[in-house]
Point group: C2
Chain length 572, copies 2
């Protein structure tokens, strides 16, 4: 096999881990993604650091937990200064480009305060969380202009799909039986084909944009190695897909909803309120699932076909041996499981994601086609990329760890024993219903591979035993028999919380390797020295390197050892 | 009384709380500082957020705990982007200037990455932790040029105190009995008068520079309100002071060292190593205390006299009624107590500081001359200043709380029940001796007014009961009788650690007051809506303000409620 030159970092949005055939879906066949898994490693315990787009992605792009970077929900700008994949790889001669979604909100106030022009090269990168935006498209383009007018709209126009907002009118609309155009925003119409034809819909469009980028790089004689983030908006809502995908799946292909009546009896107050949101109440209804699931599954099938297009392109152009391929998602989708819609909480359908990594390096031959059961986190991708390009480890900045040892079949002895995820629900109405101030609207999950403990500010915790209760139907958070287990996980969560990694301006490696007290003394800053003889004596213990490396400080120490004689010297 | 226009924010360096007569020192009379206390409030339980210069100051200047801002030791740059007093007050039309020390190290790497010229106005402010540097002088100027060549050296030259490094040769030197010039770095010579005369020594010099600044402001017809940080390097080492102060105090004036032989028997491993540092071993010796204490006390007496100069100037120029005066320190000095030198740990001589605030506002009349026993923290000053100038509270950024309610005699019901301090000892040789990696070299103190609990990564905690053992001579960290108390404080420390305040780009206030879900829906992003009727029905529940404020989104919603009829419309 080859050596990694480039990285294709593919992310879907809201793709559940269990809606791929390689992860066990019995009816949704995803042969192209399965083929990738057969060539690489399928990670069976990958967790995102927050089950919501923006926060999850900011963690993935920075390699840092939400409590480190602070961008805790969708509208929270990642602060100017937080380092991302692009910032870490650029000094290594690697460009980091984007085709698709990031959910990044620019820190305009921060840039203004720091005097950074948002339209400058640096300003654009800060605004795009470190990526060079080949094409940014967050995929949500309502009439009100929620996101900037996308290039995709111009593209649709070129092909004759016009109107004020072609995305809304074609990609996100369907025809009702009576010939009216109905909106893809409504769950009722999810099972109707989008008005846009497959080839012009978003997933194939983003695939082609990715290939455009790669072609341009190949054509450039000075092209640098690249990490391309191919970031699909789908199968995220609005749930709507063109034919033939719209008509592929019916109720016989569905996974049954995972929920029990017992979950609704005396639930945890925060869970109760999440069950009570509009979207959860919708997904608790069978007619909603019946309407949405065919679209959700069709969108995934379409992605799989586009993976086929992308991988074939790499094969045909001989790039497969030099391209690492990462396939993952930013979080899942409840789809009615646990009486919930959307994501936001920490049940497996929400917080666990598929992660497949194909590494062409021959050292990865040992693990090809295997399934890995180690606890991995989305923040591990950033340090994996750094590792691939030979960057030094940055444990003072990056919370995640390189997955390459796992890809090479060499699990480090000190691999993590728990995965963490956080959720800031202050942005939900739930915070107001529960009368919580913003700083108390936090849930924090710790999962040790068996027990999932969720600390909930101001309420009792939640606890699930995934060994005895793999579907997480029984909350043991108040069960007296589990007090000890809760206590252990609570303490481990504290351990984790004490490592905020904010000392980002001085590396651990420098600290660990520098005799700092000697350097201070050597510069003539003497702390606790009695007299000249004391200095002379102490210097004998210093490392020889330190005691002589700097001619300036050598003189400094010599002068300190010999008091000036006023009668013979020439002190002015 | 008057209304605050300006703030004189005076900080000493390494000044113990108990070396002022208003705090009870029986022999070191500080009448000018005492007079300030008589006009204001003396806080008896003020704690710094880290017992080391750099980290403590960065907390004080940002209003944030060390685990929030990350600048955990002296050589750690405060990261570009962290907001300081200057950044918070500038938009309110207040300038924040510096005369003296900050211990700030500029984040050069961060500025380079963000494209900020360190010599630009913004670059200078980032480099000076938000202050406009009227005069920066960190007071440590060894021959090796540890700090930039100070203006003070030019000043000394003007008055005929020459040489390669006038600070080192005059301010930091003394004469030995045999006429040789000996260095103030050595503890042995601390009891000799500095060669520089009093009027040209550092403390009076900085006082005059502060008055220069104020005079310039008064002369400027467009002068803005100001916060002036008058920041003395003294009584910090090198311990040396000119006459008459050098000869004022002898052993009969000393406070006896607070230490017991029991402390050295089976001590906590981290404490043991701190007792084992060079400076601690020095201060355990009586001859070191005998030599250093006269200088340390003389330096404080000199500061008090300079406070007299400064306060008289304000009185004489009629500025006392419009100037808030804050007097504090960045940490204390063990001076041999507990067999320790320097600071770094959490005994009262190190982590507790004097804090006196004089507020000319008439609402503060209720508390003049009183002593306050509430737990206050150095991070409370930043929000106090913000409060004075009418800024909105920023609980998503600032960990501290305004002290003004306390100054007005109105203690908030939810005032803090514990004070926190942190110490990163990875920069000390101790970390290497204990074979700890940088991320584990952390001590974290929580003090509830009686018990002081110190969590020590990888070791047992320490615990002191300041009610039964006010001198902190008995470490109860392993005493089984105190398990419950340790458990309570441990849990409170976890509570604290879960509030890292990194979501600095979106204010809590905005979140608490905005119906975010409605705004999302209103922009045409419909999550969980079944059909058009569902939207129409749901809109009735929205706040009227939200449902109509934006004409664009009004149209958006209208369009979503009425499907387009292809047969009658004119869809292109």
């Amino acid at each position: 096999m080859g050596q990694v030159k480039n990285i294709l970092f593919i992310m879907c949005d809201q793709l559940r881990w269990d809606y791929l055939s390689c992860y066990g879906h019995p009816h949704l066949h995803t042969p192209h993604i399965d083929a990738l898994a057969a060539k690489g490693v399928r990670f069976d315990r990958c967790y995102v650091q927050s089950p919501v787009c923006g926060a999850s992605r900011m963690s993935t792009y920075t390699g840092r937990y939400v409590h480190s970077h602070g961008a805790s929900w969708n509208f929270v700008p990642l602060k100017a200064g937080e380092m991302t994949i692009g910032d870490h790889l650029r000094p290594l001669g690697v460009q980091t480009a984007l085709a698709g979604k990031t959910h990044m909100r620019a820190d305009s106030a921060g840039m203004a305060r720091l005097g950074i022009d948002p339209n400058s090269l640096i300003g654009v990168r800060i605004s795009e969380c470190g990526f060079d935006p080949y094409e940014r498209d967050d995929g949500i383009h309502p009439r009100s202009g929620h996101d900037p007018y996308p290039r995709y709209n111009e593209y649709l126009r070129e092909y004759g799909f016009g109107g004020e907002n072609p995305w809304e009118d074609w990609a996100n609309s369907a025809l009702a039986d009576d010939g009216r155009i109905v909106s893809g925003w409504y769950l009722k119409y999810a099972n109707r084909p989008a008005r846009v034809p497959d080839e012009h819909s978003e997933t194939p469009y983003i695939t082609r944009r990715a290939i455009d980028f790669i072609e341009e790089q190949n054509a450039d004689p000075n092209g640098k190695p690249w990490v391309l983030h191919v970031s699909y908006i789908k199968p995220h809502w609005p749930y709507i897909v063109p034919d033939p995908y719209a008509s592929m799946y019916g109720p016989e292909d569905f996974l049954a909803p995972v929920r029990s009546e017992a979950e609704r009896e005396n639930p945890h107050p925060v869970y109760r309120e999440f069950m009570n949101t509009k979207v959860s109440r919708s997904f608790a209804r069978d007619e909603v699932r019946d309407s949405v699931l065919p679209a959700y599954m069709g969108l995934i099938k379409q992605i799989d076909d586009q993976m086929g297009v992308l991988f074939k392109y790499l094969e045909d152009t001989g790039q497969m041996e030099q391209t690492m391929i990462v396939f993952t998602s930013d979080h899942g989708d409840y789809l009615g499981d646990h009486w919930l819609g959307e994501k936001d909480l920490f049940h497996e359908p929400s917080v666990r994601v598929p992660l497949i990594i194909y590494d062409p390096d021959e050292r990865a031959d040992a693990t090809r086609g295997s399934a890995n059961q180690d606890l991995v986190e989305a923040i591990d991708l950033m340090p994996t990329f750094l590792d691939v390009y030979g960057g030094v480890e940055l444990p003072h900045i990056i919370d995640g760890r390189s997955l390459r040892p796992l890809l090479f079949g060499q699990k480090p002895a000190d691999w993590r024993s728990y995965a963490i995820s956080e959720y800031d629900y202050s942005f939900m109405d739930i915070g107001k219903v529960l009368e919580k101030s913003a700083i108390d609207c936090w849930l924090r999950m710790i999962f040790d591979g068996r027990y999932k403990y969720i600390l909930s500010e101001g309420f009792r915790p939640m606890l699930f035993d995934l060994q005895d209760d793999p579907h997480e139907l029984t909350d043991l958070g108040a069960d007296p028999d589990y007090e000890k287990i809760r206590g252990r996980l609570h303490e481990q969560l504290f351990e984790w919380a004490r490592r905020p990694r904010q000392r980002v301006t001085v590396p651990d490696g420098m600290i660990n390797s520098t005799p700092i007290q000697q350097r201070i003394s050597q510069q003539g800053v003497l702390i606790g020295f009695w007299d000249e003889d004391d200095l002379t004596e102490e210097r004998k213990n210093w490392r020889s390197l330190m005691a002589s490396w700097n001619p300036v400080t050598k003189d400094t120490l010599a002068a300190l050892e010999k008091p000036t004689d006023l009668n013979s010297g020439d002190d002015s």
